[in-house]
Amino acid sequence: MNLLLNLFMKHFVTSADAASTVGFWESMKPPIDISTNGHLIDSLFMLTTWLILFFFFFVCLGIFGFSYLYSKKKHPKPLYTHGTSRKHISIVAGIGALVFIMVDMQITTISNRDFINVFLNYPKESEDIVRVQVLGQQWAWNFRYAGKDGIFNTEDDVVTLNDLRLPINKKVIFQITSKDVIHSLYFPNARLKVDAMPGRISRMWYELTKTGLYDIACAEMCGTYHYRMQAKLTVYDQTEYDAWLNEMQERAEFTTEKDKADLYWGWKWLADAETK
């Protein structure tokens, strides 16, 4: 017990220094939303929470209220009913219908709308978008940008390890696969994740709104060092991004070891029709 107390104190003292700016309630919040559409997920979460609290309130009212009112001492003579009268059956059926209409239909409708109109509404190839190919492997994320020629899987591609840099206010589309086991590309700050699976190419798109440095994680168990499969997302404004990409593209022309077959893990960018 002493040991526990010591540890507890030690951690609280140290964590109090590190996280002194963050209050208890603050720490429960999801990470800061940096995407244009993350708020759709957050607001649906909040709506569901209120609906759930509404119904759970009545469940609690039932459990605690009836327990209080109808204990053996207070209410020695129980009511003899099997709950099979027409009135009782309609009440129960009504509750079922109420839950379905108030909760299920609401959130299903909203979710369907967002899912089809936003999250699956991939930007057109003709738009001005950033394209990135992602390869998961045990235990790292590889990112590939097309080189100056604009074609993927050529020797002038920009390839980075655990280092994704993207511009602000521009639609980004990812094509994702995995080399070995199933991974899941997880952007906590954009509220999105999608599995990276060997033999398949999955897609994701978002648009970022805040510059800065953020975490990328792997959400699907992928082996011992799953927890270390961490990459960094750097969000630049457009000029910074252009400068960085330009420099990387130029460097790629000189530094790529052109004969190394391992380097060509990319693929020809798949047009919309091919991925469906």
Partner: protein, 575 residues
Amino acid sequence: MAFFEQDIHDAPTTFLSKYVFSFDHKVIAKQFLWYGIAFLGIGGMMAILIRWTLAFPGEAFPILGPLLFPGNNGVVPPDTYAMLFTLHGTIMIFYAITPILIGAFGNYCIPLMIGARDMVFPTLNMLSFWLAVLSAILLLASLFTPLGGAAGGWTSYPTLSTLIGSAGVGQTLWCLALFVLGVSSTMGAVNYIATIITLRAPGMGYFDMPLTIWGLWLTAILNAIFLPVLGAGLLLLTFDRVFGTTFFLAGAAATSGSGDPVLFQHVFWIFGHPEVYILILPAWGIVSDLLSFFARKPAFGAKGTALAMTSITILSTLVYGHHMYSTQMSPLLTQSFMMLTMTISIPSAVFFANWLGTIWKGSIRFDTPMLFSLGVVFVFGLGGLTGLYLATVTTDLYLHDTYFVVGHFHYTMAASVLLGGFAGTYFWFPKMYGRMMNERLGKIHFWISMVGLNGIFMGMMVIGHAGMHRRIYNPFVYEFLKDLVPLNMFITISALTMGVGQLFFVYNFIHSMYKGPIATQNPWEVGTLEWTIPSPAPHYNFKDIPVVRCGPHEFGNPNLVGKDFQYQTEELVKA
């Protein structure tokens, strides 16, 4: 209704035939109960190790740590951590909850509550237990192989669970252990279904069965249909591992030919989603009965509850796709699965209404089994409602594979089922062992468990919503999770509290077996058939097969004189 009547056999005389290779469903039930409780202890210990690692990364686990991990200064190493959460899941689901709820209560309650002398296939029943033992040996043996036990998560998705992700015999043994366990459970399931159909006492229609039997029956049906699916998947996985087939290998991972890793996910979740209901249905049944028994009031809309359970059973087979939203199925499938999943809330709402209707205007006795039953209503309310976030595809994009999922399914599968199991144990203990369990210790056990459970799983949902993903050894390498240290410590301390609370149960259980006050034939004053015979039940159960004349929940009938309940063997008293 009965198709036939079993003979009364002589009581077994030798130790071996009485306690070890017994054909008696009551002894097999107790064997399953002990088996389950032992594994509950092992799985619980693993949970404590996992929680310790998450709250105090890099700190040695006190006392046990240096003994288990001497090479690592008593700190749980990352590969062992993966093995721990894999086996925690596997053990709790297949080796603790399944044996206790289905093996023990299924075996114990079915013949006694339907008025039969034994299961319809006693030998199959015995085989079912001993195959479960064989399976446990296989699983535990995997821990002592050179690379340790399985470490790919309890879902064991390929290609992680193929040779690409996990070399070594451990994962193969895991597959075989679960395959054997699947055979064992299927044997049990077939037996339960046949027993309930053919051996109900004369006069007992399906709606005269206690709801416990309804729950166990539906569970058995799901088990018989879906465990073979898991078996097939595991067999294919074993082929991939041992014989070099490529059912679940694809892309760069396959050297020749090409299968699909996602195929395994389909196979796994076709089984895996019904599995959730396989575990919870017996608990629902037990709770539906106990609420009525202790509220001294007929179960409100018992037929409705039974039908709601049946419709959930059917729906449970149609919704598995909500586990796979992040694999980017066709949007049409995604939407269909979302809609189907949502419909489950209708029957759920129906039996919540019926549960609350049962205690409404009752005369509630707050004995330990009743407290646990009310606890189930509370935690299952939370568990069921939080499922909505995960059935909704867009919120699931964020919450999938986070601790929110972990908190949610522990509320439904761990908290509700465990509390239901405890309710059943406290309730049927007098009939099993002929002695009463201690009420005071039982109540202490209940309150500590309730506080602990809610602390753990509510905490998990909070950190999950804050973005913490699952199955990570050290969350604090991530910038966005740095603030979650205090919350993780809170969860771990709740888990330790919960663990300590279970000691009250273990002491109570073992002490009451030998020293508890002698139980009367019917200590809870309940009218179902098992309470018409002495405690503990004699080996032949019923000297004369009873004839059923009324339903299982006849309480508080104003026309009754002298007592407030009726045995099922009595004619319904009318004015």
